[in-house]
Amino acid sequence: MVDLFRIVINFISILAIPLMIATFLVWGFFKKVRVYEVFVEGAKDGFHTAIRIIPYLVAMLFAIGIFRASGAMDVLISAITPLTNLIGMPPDTLPMALMRPLSGSGSLGIMTELMKVHGPDSFIGVLSSTLYGSSETTFYILAVYFGSVNIKNTRHAVPVGLLADLAGALAAVFICRLLFGI
């Protein structure tokens, strides 16, 4: 069942982009859109959008980078570790949950390390890959998306993103314990 689902979704993923390109252009062509000119017109914005996010991205990545490099992340982890026992989360996976919203490459490294040490099919292995697979790099998305339209006052976006991450991490612990519990 899971395998069938995987095969179907993989198939859709592979087809999606060629299909979208074909549909957009063919549909446009028959609707008498000047496809080439319109495409170029739209693509012109690509450069400016990408350039516009640079200052926001620099601000965000550099702060997270020095936070990790200074060892402050380790201090934070050892401060929160006692709480993980309460919810039945192995302390080893805490860095994973904390790093995920901050840094994509950092959390990828932690997940790989955890699975190498404990085995990918151990409880810790399953939990860490679920934590990685079920979440996005919140702060990166905030920086890039808001940066692209020059938004500096993000209002409640950060608390909302962090609450969602917290709920996701708790849900991951819950479902992994339920299905592969220790």
Binding site: V2, I54, F67, T112, H156, A164
Partner: protein, 335 residues
């Protein structure tokens, strides 16, 4: 909020970094200037007045831990090293970090004079009669301000990475913005938005249901769920641009933007491809078991995000921030 988080990330990083460096200095964590008795193993027979000699430094785990006052080294140390000896009595050594290098030495090498290489003096060396090994006394180069050096390096590295990421986006960004423009002109986006209007009307009440923003949001979410991150980011940025056209106060996030980001950062995905690829790489027998757990966890995160965005947007603090300055002053005058 982002203001405070950003500021505190940096301040905490600097305080912790300085604190750790002072702590290292007081406890002399890296044993700067202390002589270390070590065995040098080499098959080469040193001769002449100036010799370059390759071999291994050998220490038992206990000797290593006793010297550095740690308990982390579990295996005996066999570190490949190059010596430059003067008359086979004194000289210098240098080694690069390999897989067998103790973690502590690797950390030290990060802020050594030559990055990733540790050097030092050979104070005294006595070769045994059969020349297979020698007793040596070495002093490592002094290692100081490890964390401050790491912070400096990280600041510069990550500034560069940010630009690399942004530049890397230009191509796919242009491709997708071009394609969407064609789809818009062809009226395709309108068809899509009309189909999902019942859902999007509730999620984004401030946005007209046939607005191009809705089309971009739908396509971005679909791309995210299929794991097409190359397409998802350009589509998401397109959605932000369209949402910003409805923004009454430029430079401030609207309710619709926050709800959209909540859906986006929730990370709803049908196939967690990266996590599964890593699982396969480290030898999992069942890489697919995380599909169900990931969908469940991401679903919980997304629902929480949407609910939180809807609730928090009602707080007076956040309501006031969105009002334009004219209204705000009117409100102050009235109240």
């Amino acid at each position: 909020m982002l203001n405070y988080i950003w500021f505190f990330l940096i301040v905490i990083a600097l305080v912790v970094g300085v604190g750790k460096d002072i702590n290292d200095e007081i406890r002399n964590t890296y044993r700067n200037g202390s002589p270390l008795e070590i065995i040098f193993i080499s098959s080469q027979v040193p001769s002449g007045t100036a010799t370059r000699c390759e071999g291994q430094f050998y220490l038992t785990a206990k000797q290593f831990n006793d010297f550095y006052g740690t308990s982390s080294q579990l295996e005996e140390v066999k570190q490949p090293v190059v010596l430059s000896l003067l008359q086979n009595k004194t000289g210098n050594f240098i080694f690069g970090c390999t897989e067998v290098t103790p973690v502590l030495w690797k950390d030290m090498a990060q802020s050594a004079l030559v990055k990733d290489k540790l050097a030092g003096r050979v104070e005294r060396i006595e070769f045994s009669d059969d020349h297979g090994w020698a007793k040596a006394t070495i002093v490592m180069e002094s290692i100081r301000f490890v964390k401050l050096k790491a912070i400096t390096q990280a600041a510069i590295d990550f500034a560069n990475i940010a630009v690399e990421i942004a530049i890397g986006l230009i191509g796919v960004m242009s491709l997708w913005l071009g394609l969407i423009k064609v789809a818009e002109e062809a009226g395709l986006v309108k068809v899509l938005t009309r189909l999902l209007a019942p859902i999007t009307k509730r999620l984004f009440p401030d946005v007209p249901p046939d607005h191009p923003a809705i089309g971009a949001i739908i396509m971005n979410t679909a791309a995210n769920m299929l794991g097409l991150s190359n397409a998802a980011t350009p589509l998401g940025l397109k959605a932000m641009e369209e949402l910003n056209k409805l923004n009454p106060k430029i430079g401030t996030a609207t309710n619709a933007m926050v709800t959209f980001l909540a859906i986006n950062t929730g990370g709803l995905i049908l196939i967690p491809a990266t996590a599964m690829a890593v699982r396969a790489a480290v030898g999992s027998t069942n890489i697919g078991i995380i599909i169900g757990t990931s969908i469940f966890a991401a679903g919980c995160a997304t629902i929480t995000g949407i609910v939180a965005s809807k609730l928090l947007q009602r707080l007076p603090k956040y309501k006031r921030e969105l009002m334009d300055d004219k209204k705000k002053s009117e409100e102050v005058n009235n109240g």
